[in-house]
């Protein structure tokens, strides 16, 4: 029989890994972005875990410093990785590139 089962397994594994990778990185990016928002005082988190209103004086002075900046930068990095994945996908789709 000329059925190449290995090809199916390869496709499944590659699809799982690449899809999960992109989704995970994008999710982490969103998570970091909202973490930065929280640190900057755009939201508050109550003790029971629900979301409260913004603290007085948002944007907080810390909006441009330290942890907030770090989180924002990491989040942008995550989105950039996703963007690279999209570009690689376009590279794969367009036959002229290879």
């Amino acid at each position: 029989m000329g059925i190449d089962w290995l090809a199916f397994v390869t496709v499944a594994v590659v699809a799982v890994v690449s899809s999960c990778f992109v989704v995970a990185v994008y999710s982490v990016g969103l998570r970091l972005w909202s973490a930065a928002d929280t640190r900057a005082g755009k939201f508050t988190v109550k003790d029971d875990g629900t979301i409260g209103p913004a603290t007085v004086g948002f944007p907080h002075p810390s909006n441009v410093t330290g942890v907030v900046r770090l989180f924002r930068a990491l989040s942008v990095l995550c989105f950039a990785v996703c963007g690279a994945a999209v570009l690689y996908g376009i590279y794969l789709i367009v036959p002229q590139f290879h």
């Binding site: 029989m1 000329g2 059925i3 190449d4 090809a7 199916f8 390869t10 496709v11 499944a12 590659v14 699809a15 799982v16 690449s18 899809s19 999960c20 992109v22 989704v23 995970a24 994008y26 999710s27 982490v28 990016g29 969103l30 998570r31 972005w33 909202s34 973490a35 928002d37 929280t38 939201f43 988190v45 029971d48 875990g49 629900t50 979301i51 996703c82 999209v86 996908g89 376009i90 794969l92 789709i93 367009v94 036959p95 002229q96």
Partner: protein, 426 residues
């Protein structure tokens, strides 16, 4: 390569018929498959319906121009072509196309996503069996190209999408930070566009192959020449126009008929559709876009806790997949049988085919609400309410649900935390 070639060649009736029908098939292929890429962003509100179909149409157009590698075989080895096998005549291609188009129209009318390429293969197989007997079909190829992928592609896609959805929800879990799952909407725009572009590069090429092989068979073009430029333009425009028209019935089925899709799920589903299609087309078997996309949506539905899947709808879709090949083969066989009468048969085929297509179209216009009610309950809800009304209703209900669940969850969470502090185990 230029339009200038056209008047010089002898264009017979059959060639004209095949080209016209092939372009119409391309058109149905477009509107049948808009849903694969654009059902989820439309359902989650990531893109407005008109914007979504426009983007899809443009990307299909671009995709069609990007990929113009000549198809060496229309049937991907399903029919024993070439020396020692069957010569696929333009009449067979014509009959096969009638089968494919009619089946595409029927499934569209029922709002069922089914693979256009399987419909084309089916039509060609039916025509080949009538035209050249049962020996003309390569059954091993049928098994490996159509049947096994039909079983595996939804399963693989559902698995990929399930895991992706789980990961997405796990990583953006409430309530530690105010999550911004709305951000997944922006991601959806990109993932869906990728699926659209991939579709354009794959599917317009099929029709180009059909037309080019017909031109070669009729002697209007030599075998060495590539796809003629006017063929590329015509196919690209046909698929883009079809996509822009939008198969709204199928979009409804995929967007809200199977499960209620949210932005996170939509993003995960389209990301897995794109990943699965790219992986399959570069590493192994070409999987059907339609089946991968439906499987992904089911997987996304399974991945979110508390979401319900309409298994009856999913079942109907799966049944439609398995009927697609034999049904279009049957139509193709009948058309091929009539075509054997000669020119008269071709004319009868063309007239009857046009009448059936027109009839199905007119039927779709009559009483859309009752029609929809006969299709799906969810689809009916969509047909009766405008999108905005529906969204407001859903939003209210969702807000109530979320509030209730959040209160409950936080209580349970507190208990769990207390239990953990005491060193208890759960």
């Amino acid at each position: 390569m230029l339009l200038g070639h056209l008047p010089a060649v002898d264009i017979t009736l059959i060639v004209v018929l095949v080209i016209a029908l092939a372009l119409f098939f391309d058109f149905t292929n477009g509107f049948h498959d808009t849903a694969n890429a654009m059902a989820t962003p439309i359902a989650t509100g990531a893109m407005k319906p008109k914007v979504a179909v426009t983007v899809a149409a443009v990307l299909n157009l671009v995709g069609a121009f990007l990929s113009t590698a000549v198809a060496t075989s229309i049937s991907h080895g399903l029919i024993n072509e070439g020396p020692g096998g069957v010569q696929i005549s333009p009449e067979m291609i014509f009959a096969g196309l009638i089968g494919a188009v009619v089946w595409n129209m029927i499934t569209w009318l029922r709002g069922l996503p089914s693979s256009s390429s399987h419909a084309l293969f089916g039509g060609l197989i039916g025509a080949a069996i009538v035209g050249a007997g049962f020996d003309s079909v390569n059954y091993l190829a049928l098994l490996t190209v159509v049947i096994i992928p039909a079983f595996l592609s939804p399963v693989i896609a559902a698995l990929v999408s399930f895991l992706s959805t789980r990961i997405a929800y796990r990583l953006t879990k409430r309530p530690v930070f105010p999550n911004e799952r709305g951000g997944f909407r922006i991601g959806q725009v990109f993932t869906s566009s990728m699926v659209s572009l991939a579709h354009g590069t794959n599917d317009a090429q099929k029709t180009m192959g059909v037309i080019t092989l017909t031109l070669i068979a009729s002697g209007a073009q030599s075998g060495e020449e590539g796809v003629q430029f006017w063929v590329v333009v015509a196919c690209a425009l046909a698929i883009a126009l079809g996509t822009y028209t939008g198969g709204w019935r199928i979009i409804r089925t995929l967007g809200s008929g199977i499960t209620e899709i949210r932005a996170t799920q939509g993003f995960a589903a389209e990301a897995s559709t794109a990943a699965t299609i790219l992986a399959s087309s570069h590493l192994g078997f070409a999987l059907s876009t339609t089946q991968v996309s439906s499987g992904s949506i089911i997987g996304a539905g399974l991945g979110r806790r508390g979401s319900k899947i309409q298994w009856s709808t999913a079942g109907k879709i799966v049944i439609a997949w398995f009927i697609t090949l034999p049904a279009s083969a049957a139509v193709g066989a009948v058309a091929a049988g009539i075509a054997r009468l000669g020119v008269i048969g071709l004319v009868i085929d063309a007239v009857v085919g046009a009448a059936v297509i027109l009839g199905l179209y007119l039927w779709s216009l009559r009483k859309p609400h009752e029609q929809a009610a006969a299709i799906e309950v969810d689809v009916a809800a969509n047909a009766v309410f405008t999108r905005k009304e529906l969204r407001d209703m859903q939003r209210k209900k969702r807000a109530a649900d979320v509030a209730a669940r959040r209160a409950e969850l936080s209580r349970e969470r507190t208990l769990r935390r207390m239990a953990a502090r005491k060193g208890g185990r759960r």
